[in-house]
């Protein structure tokens, strides 16, 4: 048996030792080095640009020759006339119909308006359109359901050592979809060509994975049993390698399996070593919080936000994705926020923009609450939001049957990583113009901010320009 150093290390690693050696990322960066976190929140089936365009933004677009009327909700970018990027400082973002939650909502509540930038005019034709671009949204490559061709941006960020630090999970991917009983969504994230990685859409599974080590009841059992399984499979792998002794080319696959087991074992041990800090941040889980037993998708979504926030606070991960009806599973019921039993598909076909705005406003509210909680948490000389970039975007572009001409985005936080001032709109010229920019440029910007720049992100045969968006850094 070819025992590896790492395996031996894991076998002999005590919980206390893990606690010392594999501290969570938030506390393990070199002095002066700010941790980098990223959350991508995706609204499935379209984010209508008008909902995030503030009054000042629309006025600036129209002043630059645009023609946006009071009731224009369709292809907003068709009405852009400017030929170079339009910066709108002091944009009064919370005046946008779906962005009111950026402002304080009650006495003592924080504002994140000045931490937020709204980016309009980005295209991503390569992702395809329709109800969903599936993997195309986060990979900037041609995407079809369950057949990604590239790794998604979350995977790339999670694999950057400076981003990962010593956090046990490279990426935490959570979500909800139209079926509350289907536990995984395999149409949004990918670790490579033909390698979809699911969003966990069952909050109980998500809770057990993240906080099972400090949870009572079933969640604890799930976590503990996984540890036993890892011990069992290590012995099995060792025995198989012995049987194949002398045939290295046949051992190779089993060795790789063994390495995966080792990696998960390290993760398991690391989480066990984080008991104190995880107990401090773990949200109420199944059996305590009613969100987990609920049959309403939106309750599950709120549970996923709780878990993501706690995962950041506890140092379980530095990269997260939350999807809401992404990958075509968008026909959610919004009865919980007063929209009745009608599904999103019919809401869209009814052109009920009031309802759609309410949906976006609700989701932005969840994002804003998380951002405000991070802002309220000191870190270094600032707060956690300064070190966290939150992107709110859709998974197909600008509308129900999108043409991928425009992908409006909110970019919140990240001031310690070069993102310039907030309460600002950045409006790029419409698709087809020379200075139009693409979603791939945003993801390129993210990788540069994370310290490992990718200039040509994705596989865009219609790439307009390489590299990050300097317009986001400036001002």
């Amino acid at each position: 048996m070819k025992g590896s150093t790492r395996r031996t290390f894991v076998k002999t690693l005590g919980i206390g030792a893990a606690s010392l050696l594999l501290n969570p990322a938030r506390f393990s960066y070199a002095a002066g080095q700010a941790p980098f976190r990223c959350l991508i929140m995706m609204e499935g089936n379209g984010l209508i640009p008008r909902f995030v365009a503030s009054n000042a933004t629309i006025a600036a677009i129209n002043a630059a020759g645009g023609n946006i009327g009071p009731n224009d909700y369709g292809d907003l970018n068709n009405r852009y006339a400017h030929n170079s990027v339009l910066q709108v400082p002091n944009a009064g973002l919370s005046s946008a119909s779906a962005l009111q939650s950026l402002a304080p909502q009650f006495s003592g509540d924080l504002s994140i308006e000045e931490d937020t930038r709204v980016v309009l005019g980005l295209s991503s034709k390569v992702a395809g359109g329709g109800h969903s671009s599936h993997f195309g949204a986060l990979t900037c490559s041609p995407g079809a359901a369950r057949v990604p061709s590239m790794p998604s941006v979350d995977h790339i960020l999670g694999r950057i050592p400076l981003v990962r630090g010593a956090s046990p999970f490279d990426v935490v991917r959570l979500g909800i979809q139209s079926s509350t009983t289907t536990p995984f969504n395999y149409s949004t994230c990918a670790s490579g060509d033909r390698a979809p990685v699911p969003l966990i859409c069952n909050p109980q599974i998500a809770y057990a994975n993240l906080f099972g080590s400090v949870a009572p009841g079933d969640s604890a059992n799930v976590f503990r049993n996984q540890g036993k399984l890892l011990d069992f499979v290590r012995a099995d792998v060792d025995a198989t390698l012995q049987e194949l002794n002398g045939k290295p080319q046949l051992q190779n696959k089993i060795e790789r399996y063994g390495e995966a087991v080792e990696t998960l074992t390290v993760r398991h041990q690391t989480i066990l070593g984080m008991e104190t800090q995880l107990r401090a941040v773990a949200p109420d889980g199944p059996g305590v919080s009613p969100l987990y037993a609920s049959t309403h998708s939106l309750d599950h979504l709120e549970a996923m936000f709780d878990l993501t926030k706690a995962a950041f606070l506890g140092g379980l991960t530095n990269v997260a994705v939350i999807g809401s009806g992404t990958g075509g599973a968008f026909n959610l019921n919004y009865d919980r926020i007063g929209l009745g039993q009608i599904g999103r598909h019919d809401i869209c076909h009814a052109n009920d923009y009031t309802a759609l705005n309410a949906i976006t406003s609700y989701q932005v509210g969840l994002v804003a609450k998380l951002a405000k909680d991070l802002k309220a948490t000191p870190e270094g000389s600032g707060n956690m939001l300064d070190n966290t970039v939150i992107i709110y975007m859709s998974d197909n572009g600008e509308k129900h049957h999108s043409n991928s001409n425009e992908w409006p985005m909110l970019i919140i936080g990240g001031s310690n990583h070069g993102f310039g001032s907030g309460n600002r709109s950045i409006v790029y010229p419409r698709v087809g113009k020379a200075n139009n920019r693409q979603v791939s440029n945003i993801f390129s910007t993210l990788t540069h901010a994370a310290g490992s720049g990718v200039d040509n992100f994705g596989n865009d045969i219609r790439r307009v320009a390489s590299g990050p968006l300097s317009d986001l850094w400036s001002a």
Binding site: A144, R146, V147, D170, P183, R194, T240
Partner: protein, 720 residues
């Protein structure tokens, strides 16, 4: 080189007139010197000119002349002939010095059949090798390399009896870059996959957690004692695990170590959960035990090492258990002897055919060629009048069906997007055409109706089961299986995409249709393929997508990647520009044509259809056109102008290049790897069988399975 050729010509001209048996060339004072060697290996002459060499021409005659001049007293003559004699002697000395006698060649017995050495593998695989190179072997198929194969995504779900559930979306996907889901060269589990796999292990308990029969998983008697309130004994645990591992996980006898380790794990799990008063508590224990079984390397990887008889040449046969699993997973998604699990409606015929594989392993007949033929035939295709009446009477084995789905690239149809599907088609008088089309792509919206992709599969199943001139028929058949328009309120005109306006009742007689000869011919004119390889918009670059697919999957050629410096873009969409015109504007320049000449001409014939597969009635103010000039196909009979996709398909059907490429695709999918030069003789054999059998794909597949490439493995290299 030129001088050498001249010399050879001279030598060959001389040989018939020369007494010497050997003549070679050297140099004397900077000039060519021709030396003659006798039969006995003696250098007999050296001359500065070509000519008729004789033993005594040079020196013997000159010596006579010297003697004659001495007698005559002619001092001048003596001087001349002496000089000539010295020169001749010097030439002879040079020839003698330069002559190297050849080693005698020992006589070898003439073998009865010349040994065949197949081309060695040079690292190239798949489309990197031309068909002309691969189909030139006249030798025998060779064994494959020993290998270990990880279980696939569908194989895992189906073996658990969970087709049609979210277990199908487990993370056991093929490795990056694999053309087919069966490819296993690099497939293992990384930490991302394993992490997600743990989430799926909850499926392994299905049917094993209680005593109910609702799961359709028939449980053996040994299971009973595991789920009673009383803790199971060690004897019970071992008896259960023996049956569970053998019949539901490994599909072979568990090795002692495998059984022992799992028994220890199970005993500890039972001991750690003393409260067995509720079914939930007992189920939790069973979940741990079944999960442990499914993380073993024996469950996740299967051997094709060649653990059977070793031949004198060092090669080994697959052991019967290896061969049984290879057959089972090549033609089905389940292990041999796994008929006990439930099956969905679309797996035909009922699964006892998989049981037959295990039976053949147990009775030792699995390696008999006739048995292999029978097992392939049983899992290949057939007719079943009792099938779900929405489908045709023809069925294909699930991996044969999956081969066509993957080869044709139609699996993504349900989530593909087509803007205004009927754009440019004539659908006047029909209602909800676009809505019907979009719903027809997805099972969810169509109830029990047959989806667009399934319609293509039904058409292929009939051709495959007829088993005559299969490849040619695939590209020319006009017999299509259409959808009924009387099934669903949402899908009122699904037949419109085929240009059919009449109502189609939901019965097979009505649904089999011969489509017009000027509109459809074969699978590449089927709306499913057309829509799967199309842009989202009718005036988009579908021709590039379709042409590239044909280049790579029908001609087995290659198209270079888009250079990073190329800013590929399509001109803006306008009402007066057709897709063909936009394509010309976008890719017409010589710098683009370097690559696009490999794609566009192959895709342009299909511009007679729109992006969704409707026949165009008009095309932006002009008559629709499928005209193209085929180039670089590798077949002179395929090159040249074609008027439309129908003519192009008919030409494809008659091309040996297309036939060879299809055989290569079948080989890749069934062998689970791309072909290399070492497979040349196997591929040539497959083509010979196909042609000798009148175009029987089944005979070709049976020949592959009987061949050493499938049943035999090379000697494992020793550890370095």
């Amino acid at each position: 080189m030129f001088r050498a050729l001249i010399f050879l010509a001279i030598v060959f001209a001389l040989i018939p007139r020369a007494d010497a048996q050997q003549i070679f060339e050297t140099t004397f004072k900077g000039r060519a010197l021709f030396c003659a060697v006798s039969d006995g290996g003696e250098v007999v002459s050296g001359r500065m000119r070509k000519g008729n060499f004789r033993r005594d021409v040079a020196l013997t005659r000159l010596r006579k002349k010297v003697r004659k001049a001495r007698k005559s007293g002619d001092s001048e003559l003596l001087k001349v002939v002496k000089r000539k004699a010295r020169t001749a002697k010097a030439r002879l000395a040079v020839c003698t010095r330069e002559f190297t006698p050849e080693e005698p060649i020992p006589e070898e017995p003439i073998p009865e059949e010349p040994p065949v050495v197949p081309p060695g593998s040079d690292g190239r695989r798949g489309n990197e090798i031309s068909s002309a190179e691969l189909f030139s072997c006249d030798g025998s198929p060779q064994p494959s390399e020993p290998r270990i194969r990880r279980i696939g995504q569908m194989e895992w779900a189906a073996t658990l009896g969970l087709r049609g559930t979210d277990a199908e979306f487990n993370p056991l996907v093929p490795d990056a870059g694999s053309q087919y889901s069966t490819f296993s060269d690099g497939a293992s589990l990384n930490d991302t996959v394993l992490s997600e796999y743990f989430n799926y292990l909850r499926h392994t308990r299905t049917g094993w957690i209680d005593g109910s029969s609702s799961s359709n998983v028939p449980r053996p008697p040994e299971h009973r004692c595991m789920i009673l309130p009383a803790p199971p004994s060690e004897t019970c645990i071992r008896a259960f695990l023996q049956v569970y591992l053998k019949n539901f996980v490994l599909f072979r006898e568990p090795k002692p170590g495998e059984l022992d380790r799992l028994a220890v794990f199970a005993s500890e799990a039972v001991a750690a959960n003393v409260d067995r008063s509720t079914q939930a508590a007992r189920s939790a224990v069973m979940e741990q035990i079944t999960s442990a079984a499914w993380v073993t390397s024996g469950a996740l990887f299967r051997s094709e090492i060649g653990q059977g008889e070793q031949l004198s040449s060092g090669e080994t046969l697959l052991a019967d258990e290896e061969l049984g699993k290879a057959i089972a997973y090549t033609f089905t998604n389940q292990g041999p002897g796994a008929p006990r699990l439930m099956q969905p409606a679309r797996v035909f015929p009922p699964l006892p055919r998989v049981q037959a594989i295990e039976d053949a392993v147990l009775d030792g007949t699995i390696s008999v060629p006739a048995t292999l033929d029978a097992l392939v035939a049983a899992n290949y295709s057939g007719i079943d009048e009792l099938r779900d009446p929405h489908y045709s009477e023809y069925w294909m084995g699930e991996k044969i069906e999956q081969f066509f789905i993957e080869w044709l690239g139609i699996s993504g149809l349900p989530t593909s997007f087509h803007d205004r599907p009927s754009a440019t088609a004539d659908v006047t008088g029909l209602v909800r055409v676009d809505e019907s089309y979009n719903h027809m792509k997805k099972k969810a919206y169509y109830g029990d109706g047959i989806t667009l992709g399934e319609q293509a599969i039904e058409m292929i199943a009939r051709i495959v089961d007829s088993d005559q001139d299969v490849i040619s028929s695939l590209f020319t058949s006009r017999q299509f299986y259409l959808p009924s328009n009387l099934e669903s309120q949402y899908v009122q005109s699904p037949q419109a995409v085929y240009g059919v306006r009449e109502d189609l009742p939901s019965n097979r007689e009505a649904l089999w249709n011969i489509l017009p000869a000027n509109e459809r011919a074969g699978i590449l004119t089927h709306p499913a393929w057309l829509a799967a390889h199309a842009d989202n918009f009718e005036n988009g670059p579908s021709a590039i997508l379709r042409g590239k697919w044909i280049r790579e999957n029908v001609l087995c050629g290659m198209v270079p990647d888009v250079p990073i410096t190329v800013d590929a873009s399509f001109p803006p969409s306008t009402s007066h520009l057709s897709a063909r015109e936009r394509l010309q504007l976008s890719t017409g320049s010589p710098s683009c044509q370097g690559c696009h000449s490999l794609m566009n001409p192959l895709g342009l014939p299909f511009e007679m259809y729109n992006h969704a597969g409707f026949v165009r009635a008009t095309d932006h103010g002009s008559a629709p056109s499928g005209e193209s000039t085929i180039v670089f196909s590798g077949d002179d009979n395929l090159n040249g102008p074609v008027v439309n996709a129908v003519e192009f398909s008919e030409r494809l059907a008659n091309s040996p290049v297309v036939e060879q490429c299809f055989i290569r695709q079948v080989f890749r999918y069934l062998m689970g790897r791309p072909e290399s030069n070492e497979d040349a003789c196997t591929l040539t054999m497959m083509q010979n069988v196909y042609e000798d059998s009148g175009g029987s794909m089944k005979s070709m597949v049976q020949a592959l399975v009987r061949s050493p490439t499938f049943t035999m493995r090379k000697e494992s290299p020793a550890e370095e």
